[in-house]
Symmetry: C2
Subunit: 162 residues, 2 copies
């Protein structure tokens, strides 16, 4: 049995006590942009309940054009106003360089990726980079309430980056 | 008090009973790619526990170059092997067209977005589109176990797309 099949069996249990549907627009008007890291359970760590906040995630919690796309849709079409960025300690993105990763892929596949890996050397600095990318975008209209945090995978605590 | 501050207060409670740290690589070797929709609590809906699976999310659960970047890092550097795609019923991406959204932004900001909005007209068809984009990528090495689902926001149930 694959892990996917196990998760489907778990979903049967979830659906048995499910109460829905909730409205489409996030009720607390928040969008979270977080790293994909397996240890970061965004709903639990922030106490978000179903229906409250958009959750956008990728390797590193990077803000690329695709996150700008998601945030533009979130704010312009679905009414969110606050943005919460979450990176974390012990991140995989600290363990390699863009150049080495792209070279390894090119050596194995014969094709150079058209994207940067978005690796970084300092997690707090990368949170600031992500905040700045959002504030610099002409497509995200509401950037007064953008705050960035580092989730500590040892303690479960969010520490604000200023 | 902002919603962000409320979430920070929730985090104090979460951290008080937190047990960590867990290892960096996902223990169940799974990556989930899901829509950012607020009603889709991925950990709860699939019964995923902290540390088990990468979770990648964006508007629509689209597979763009940025998701290929995240999946390449997930599989090549952190050992995941299965991919679970999750779209859902009543998706915001069904309610507008790429052209209209881009035109609205251009009219308001004077700048045409360089990205497609990735809106779609049929959720099952878009799941198949996303599966095909992953399988077509030269940068995602393990595509034998890619399965796509539609989460029903009324029942909480995952329905497989074949």
């Amino acid at each position: 049995m694959s892990v996917t099949d196990e998760y489907l069996a778990n979903n049967e249990t979830y659906a048995a006590s499910f109460e829905g549907p909730l409205p489409l627009p996030p009720s607390r008007h928040v969008a979270v942009v977080a790293c994909m890291d397996a240890r970061l359970n965004v709903y639990a760590a922030l106490g978000i309940r179903e229906g409250e906040a958009h959750v956008i995630r990728n390797a590193g919690g990077a803000v690329t054009e695709n996150e700008i796309r998601s945030l533009a849709i979130s704010q312009r079409l679905l009414g969110t106003r606050e943005i919460v960025l979450v990176h974390h300690t012990d991140c995989g993105m600290l363990t390699f360089s863009d150049d080495a990763f792209r070279r390894q892929i090119e050596e194995e596949t014969g094709i150079r990726p058209p994207w940067a890996a978005e690796a970084f050397g300092d997690v707090e600095q990368d949170v600031r980079q992500s905040v700045r990318r959002i504030k610099a975008s002409p497509f995200v209209p509401h950037t007064d309430a953008v705050r960035g945090f580092v989730f500590d995978v040892a303690t479960g605590r969010l520490n604000e980056v200023r």
